[in-house]
Amino acid sequence: MRLNLIAAALAASALLTGVTAHADQLADIKKKGELVVGVLGTDEPATFIDPKTRQIVGYEVDLVNAIAKKIGVKPVLKQIAVAARIPELQQGHVDLVAAGLTHNKEREAQIDFSLTTFVTGQKAIVKKDSGITDVPQLAGKKVLTIRGGTQEPNIRKAVPTAEVVTFDTSQQAFQALQQGKGVGYVDDEAALLRSYAKLGPQKAKYVVLKQNLSTEALAIGIKKGESGLKAVVDDTLRELEKSGEAQKIFVKWYGPNTASGFQTRDFKFESDKID
């Protein structure tokens, strides 16, 4: 929340003083020798802190490292809050945002997006004894989720009468579900399966509803109009795809042997267009 407020204040002051366009961002990045990337750091396995090394690692980190290598600079990761992602980018506090960022039409007016780096469905999980077996049955029920992302608008769109309660972190929202403070919990499929796996023997009491609330295309966020930087990001992603490295990175973090347990990779780094 605090980051959020600071970002809001900064955005406000910048809007009022009318910050204007500056030189090419890619040139600036090369000059300072580092690529500053905003990440969540709390979103396993996309970006999270490895308990052993205390370093931020994950799927998005591997992509970011490849981009920094391509530019020839050092990657610097900066943890930011979900709601601060776009303001931080607009203000130039970070060069890129790799933070589970959904690419959607509304946001295209604010920032640019790289090629789609991940495709996920948003799903709901419920307690088995609630008797709920598909999404429309959540009507009129209390549904819990994280604040500031696309989860909330999507559940409202899918089930307009659901009473949505949101929290600062997905852990808090999931805990509220476990305590029975709502019948359902909504999140990106990858993150949801991760939380589900953590339940251990309690898993039998829960059901992940099959139906997708939405399909989300995640991408790396780039400040609007920085075509040089966008070109280098997209080129890196295309090269990763071509060399087979993209597939390897996916299997490493989301594959069958991970808690996420995805059997196949149903997308490629090929387009920055969304439906």
Partner: protein, 231 residues
């Protein structure tokens, strides 16, 4: 992109969300204040009681509450305390507006600790001879308090209590962390839906400021209308 989009604040869905947040914040304020005042009075009397264990009880309440941040209270009353209830009550409670109830309990208990201290100071401001006079007339402890000391003390106490109300009003914003859709929460929601950070937080700030100034105005008016009688 216009610099400041007033239309967002004046009409439409986002306007409705912000207004709903403001109304809920005011409800939180009213409910917690109504609950806090009697608790505060009881605690203040406990702290002044002639019976030692009751005094300790009052002391323990005030100190344990005042020395823990409100955020921790809020999380405790939402995530912690209700879990201790029997299953049936728990389910009934969770099906309703548990977020708002937890917030009201946290705010009321927290504010009561501060208000209790103000009331106690007010009572102590009344010279001991007044109390002795009451006892000399044959009143017991409670009657002396009720008929002689409290009517004078509460008058002294009102200005600091109004100031605590001001703090309570600002503290309602902390209810955001447990998902209560009050003003700060709605401002955050509008921000993440529209990215119009400045407009949504400007609305919240203006609303907090307006209500705060009204409360301050009330304190000033009371001070002039009912000045403390020189004793």
């Amino acid at each position: 992109m216009p610099l400041f989009d007033y239309s967002l604040l004046l009409t439409g869905q986002y306007h409705d969300m912000l207004v709903a947040g403001l109304l809920l914040s005011l409800q939180l304020l009213a409910a917690s204040l109504l609950l806090a005042l009697p608790i505060a009075l009881v605690v203040a009397l406990l702290r002044l009681s002639p019976v030692a264990p009751l005094r300790w009880l009052g002391f323990a309440y005030v100190e344990s509450i005042r020395n823990i941040p409100l955020l921790a209270h809020m999380l405790f009353w939402y995530f912690g305390a209700p879990e201790l209830l029997p299953e049936g009550i728990k389910q009934w409670l969770y099906a309703g507006h548990i977020e708002a109830y937890s917030a009201i309990i946290a705010l009321a208990l927290y504010t009561a600790a501060f208000m209790a201290e103000d009331i106690r100071s007010g009572i102590r401001a009344i010279p001991a001879v007044q109390f002795e006079a009451g006892r000399a007339l044959g009143f017991g402890f409670m009657d002396t308090m009720r008929r002689v000391v409290l009517p004078q003390a509460l008058r002294v106490t009102v200005p600091p209590l109004i100031s605590q109300t001001l703090s309570l009003w600002k503290n309602t914003s902390i209810a955001t962390v447990i998902g209560v859709a009050e003003l700060m929460y709605q401002a955050g929601q509008v921000e993440s839906a529209t990215f119009r950070s400045f407009e949504s937080f400007a609305f919240a700030s203006a609303a907090y400021l307006t209500v705060s100034l009204a409360i301050t105005g009330l304190a000033t008016w009371y001070h002039h209308r009912f000045p403390v009688r020189t004793i």
